[in-house]
Amino acid sequence: MAGIGFELRKLLEKESYFGLFQAYAYAGIISSGPWVLSIIGILFIGFLSLGVVYPQLAIVQFQVSVTYLIMSSLILTGFIQLGFTRFIADSLFSIKEKIVLPNFASVMLLVTGISGLVGMSAIYLFFQGTSVTYRMLMLSGFVILSAIWVATIFLSGMKQYKEIVLMFALGYTVTVLGALLLRTEGMEGLLLGFVIGHLVLLLGMVALILRVFPLLDQTFAFDFLRPGAMYSSLIWSGFLYNFAVWADKLIFWFYPDTSQAIIGPLRASLIYDFPIFLAYLAIIPGMAVFLVRIETDFVEYYDKFYEAVREGGSLDHIMNMRDNILFTVRQGLFEIFKIQAIAVLLVFVLGEKLLTWLGISTLYLPLLYVDVVAAGLQVVLLGVLNIFFYLDKRHIVVFLCTILLVSNVALTSLSLYLGASFYGYGFALSLLITVLAGMQMLSRKLDLLEYETFMLQ
């Protein structure tokens, strides 16, 4: 994310509080933009449809359907998200940008094909009893979302963060407007609005990509499928991470006591879902801090460290840079902790009012508290994983994601067994375990950074 780091540094160099604020705001929007926009958008559509769409169940059906679409498309594309990111980064680094677009076209072909086939089988096999229109919309939505995630990766690889956020803003504006116009058609209308909005988003992204990359003689290339091009460790960590963070939700959705059938095969857990999606809104400040720290200080010293190693810096200088990396990592993680702690405190203080204002039962409150802490930990975990990616310790990432998946499944199941007052703790605890393990390993890896860089290459 060097490009973003550069812009952030420019803002920070102004050396004023306003500049600092700008930098953090910018980082916050960039880092959590798509994510937050989709949550807000969906909640907003639901909010505006209240009283217009009958029965009210239709709104829930819409929201649940969209949640499932996002989840399933993220898990499906999880397989190639990280691997393909790395492939693009490597291609750009070795100045083979010519092969990037043809490979993008091929990935698109692959993703639309596979998601289409998977989706078709799903709507035929599992969605009996729902309307054909609904099924077709779900199929389209699934294919479009899968394509969007791939395009997002592609644009992140190009450092087009601002554009991504702009495109998401545009897409969700269309989604909300579409849903508003079509809400008279009930749940299907809302979903159609969602699909149209996302198709616009996808088109916007593709247009952006085509503007950046001239289309040369070659339209398709399958370099990314060559053995080693995407690293199997990255393929697995992408899948494992996405699966792991959704595992607790899936368990709650399909555990009879905590869930109810909403539409077709889709079940939801009303007690579990609302708080956690609200909690995700609280990660914005943490993500902002994380981005600023990692992309400015960390990357700066990281680059200087490897430059010193390559260009023949003195050992003192190399170790100095290593210490600075260590310091910025520590500082960054500590700042995420601080800022998330403030967010948690705010939610503790204002949570009740917030829920009342949103018209949600305050029974959700204890769960919201836990989920805010969990979401904060997830930001820390993202930070740790990101640093491991920078250090190219891919196997550690796979290991951590496996821990997260296993512990999340185990502890969430345990929390279900222990009863309602433990809900949410499974997710939070599994994140805590993973974060602690990650930090322990990070500390060891950073201590041995020069040793490994020199002796074990």
Binding site: G313, L315, F454, M455
Partner: protein, 506 residues
Amino acid sequence: MNFPRAESADIGLLLEGTFPYVSGGVSSWVNQIIRGFPHYKFALVFIGSQPEDYGDIKYALPDNVVHLEVHYLNNKQEMPPVRPRKGDTKVFADVRHMHECFRFPATHKDGLETFRKLIPEMHEGGGAGLDTFLYSEESWAFVKEKYQQHCSDPSFVDYFWTVRSMHTPVWMLAEIARNFIPVRAFHTVSTGYAGLLGALLKERTGCPLILSEHGIYTKERKIDLFQAQWVRDNRNVFQRDPTEISYFRQLWIRFFQALGTRCYDSSDHIVALFEANRLRQVEDGAPAERTCNIPNGVNVPRFAALRALRPASPPPVLCLIGRVVPIKDIKTYIRAMRTIVNRMPQAEGWIAGPEDEDPDYVAECRDLVDGLGLNDNVKFLGFQQMTELLPKVGLGVLSSISEGLPLVILEGFAAGVPAVSTDVGSCRQLIYGLDEADRALGAAGCIVGIADPQALAEAALELLGDEAAWRAASEAGIKRVETYYTQERMFDSYRAIYEEALSWQA
């Protein structure tokens, strides 16, 4: 190429960059020794840099060479698999101590004992194996520590790789030592890598080690290193101390000194060619009581027969016999030829010796001949048979900047050819005589300073232009070689050493 292989032998000869792949003074000497002791079975180890640097074997292997193995230190070695490990603190304490011994020989005297402790650990998986050196945390800490204590070059990465590439051959040598066939005594013809191999073999087996040094290995390496272009220097204007050579040069110099120390400490007999070299060995740490001088000797009758073949008056032909390499300073000879030809237009300057060792230098020499307009007078003859060459030569020339006890001068003397030589090695002793009686034989030519073409030319002109002086010098040379430098004298001395060494087991 099929090398002879054997299960065992009498003497293990350790040869670095010489016989049988390189022709030259030392190689001829080795050939002479092997053939001089036909009743001993020799096992040879040749250590070279990389196969491309050598052509085919240059000598017919004598029948009593029963075993020959060839190893190249710069060959891309298969490195042990990369695996992190801690390393043994105790072993590294010994390693640290041995380095202290190298650095402060005056105060740390137990280097040999420490070395003995480390040798059994020098295998893969051992406390001081190559894998430990390459990948262990202890080793990393040690490298860091030494860099911080001593390195004045800013580039750590250069330091790191210099240390790595410098030390890896040591384990290659340990591997060679471990797999070598049983012999009763070892004889190394230089310190350096061959010398270290000798020390490793001696300490492993307990068999006696003989060291014969023709030049002084560490000194020659030092000259190379002063001039080497490949050694990096990353100091900037503020860091550069003009009186200090680049740290990596120092590092390499000290590395070769350390190799020398190991070899001197383990050798039972340390043989020099002449007194100055022996003193230098002692100065470099060789125990004085184990040193002695054995000058080279030539097969006089073989060359004596050539005297009759020469024309009545000395031909105006100068000849430098030797490899075309910088250490011979062929350029000074060529420059001197300019002056000689100015005054004696019919004079010819020959250069007889192989040209495959340093093609760049050969090209430079040819350019110089070209540049000085000497194309008609200076001839590169390539390798020549001495018996055919010497009768046509009027004056032997040696313009080297460093020498031991050059056989070519002695062979020339035996054939009645006087010589002009630079004042290096034992040349002064060969031309003017060593002790009173020797000096009384007269001057067999002339000694001039190094890199002084004018003086070289003057001296050569004097000898070639004055037939009486030439005859006197020729006579003195013949007498000197017949009195002091016969092959028999040399063989007798070595026979005594070999017999003593081989009797060790009995």
